[in-house]
Amino acid sequence: MEFYLAILVGLIFAASTYMLLSRSVIRLVLGVALLGNAVNLLIFTVGRVTRHIPPIIPLDLQGELTGIANPLPQALILTAIVIGFAIFSFILVLAYRAYESLGTDNSDEMRVAEPKKTELTKLTY
């Protein structure tokens, strides 16, 4: 099971890398969303996938219980999903606002913050 999940994670990483290399901002946004999901799945996989015993300790247990599912990765993923969602909504609005006011979604043409090409200033010293 972990083997197939690992391959799936790799595929999603590849797809998101492809998207992130694009010039179009909306593809970057989608790439980030994919990347976030790939990471979540990755954490889920590295926590070891087991099927049968839920992570609830019976009241009368004495000693150790083995083979139990790992609850921690799910807590981590939950945190990462919440954070990822907040960030995703932010960059979605940011991309839209940038498109609105800069009039382009091509990151090559977004050069307002970069210095303009001008004649060299005359040396005065």
């Binding site: 990755l42 606002r97 800069l102 977004m110 913050a113």
Partner: protein, 521 residues
Amino acid sequence: MVDPTILSQAMKTTPTLLADWNIIMPMLIPLVFAAGSLMLRGKDKWQMPMAIVAVLLSLFGAANLFLDILYLGPQSLTLSGWLAPYGISFTADALSALFVLVASLVTLLILMYSPADVDKAAIKSGYYTLVLMLLVGVNGSFLTGDIFNLYVWFEVMLISSFGLLILGGEKIQLDGAVKYAFLNLLGTTFFLIATGLLYGITGTLNFAHLFTQVANSEAEGTLAILSLMFLFAFAIKAAAFPMYFWLPAAYHTPRVAVSAIFAGLLTKVGVYALIRIFTVVFPEGNGAAFEIFGILGGLTVIVGGIGAIAQTELRRMLAYLLMSGVGILMIGISIHTDLALAATVQYAVHSMLVMTGLYLLSGVIGRMAGSFEIAKIGGIVMQNHYVAIAFFGLALAVSGLPPFSGLWPKYMMVQAAFMNDNYWLIAAILIGSFLTIAAVGRASIQMIWRGGDVDTPDGQYEARGQRLGAKQLRVMMLPIAIIFMLSFALGIMPESLIRQANLAAYDILNIAPYVKSTLGG
């Protein structure tokens, strides 16, 4: 029922001492006040005093924690009744405490400057709330003892910095924010990937527990790759070569107070994370051997210096100077002796203060001249002597010349490199310092001494900018004057800071007390 003896191995059976809460106070106080200021949204008059009170209290908390650690060594608190490594730990050593102290101080200085720089609209959009949340994220990152928790603080910091960056929503800010947001997001995501894989190998997220687990782990190859991923993630955060491009693209776009707080705090958190991860989790550097730090650091110093010379915009020049400083910190981590690490800590404190001061000063100069283009600024010395003196002093400080604070850490760093036979790192530091001197020297000749714009004859300059009123100028110059005096004091009496820096370096290299304070035993 569960046997209580088993339970006591995982959970606290006695209540937490009130004194133990000291550790999280510098993070908790601004968090509570940020929530309060969010609730009082719309009451603009309340925002600024609340923020000042919050930062004063957290400065007090930080000082308290610092003294505690000075006398008692590293402190730790594990929350919600669990024992480490099951609960989430906060662990602070001398390094964290010193950084928290300086971060709170820098935030206080920026709040003092803010009334002169931040307009009503920005306050309505929550400027002060965001500044407080940024401090929460920064202090939380410095204090946490849990690697996933560190990721959460990074995100807290990131989202508040996004908010601060686009306050105002101008074209240039949106453009800068797109680059800043995507590249930083990539950095934190890589951090999360590496954290997930590290958890997969070691089964723990607690720094102190990781220290023992990684040392016992047999997956050396995977750990080596992971160390490189951490290096990549934090090098983006710290703006080291070649992952620095977001910094000069974004730091000159927001209002000056925001640039200053970013310059003072954000890159240093990246450096702090590098120090922490590469002493507690990878004490030998593993795959990202310390040579790589040296190469990246040396190149960052030189590229930062060259970039600073090439810029024609004042704040973009400062961005490259900031980056050059990060290179020196990376070099310190690379050499990794107690002398080098003491120099690193000292340089980080110096850089936090001085870069904040320079950015704040760029706001004053920009207003006086009506532009941030160096070619369009002139005659500052004729308009106001104090501004000219402040720029001159801070320029000396940033290039590491006496009598200011930049000299001693650079001197110690060169000495440490000598003792380790790292001659090319010495060359990098010295070339970088020379380039910095050239850049700030050019800037002061053009902005301070030149009569006016390029081509105006001396003495015929009409300032385009606003004449700053005496009161506004006082508000703006007071925090700069404090930084100037601090930098001067640390320059002529360096031993006070060197003692703390040595202590921090000792805590960095001797992890046993850190581990013991978290795990007990």
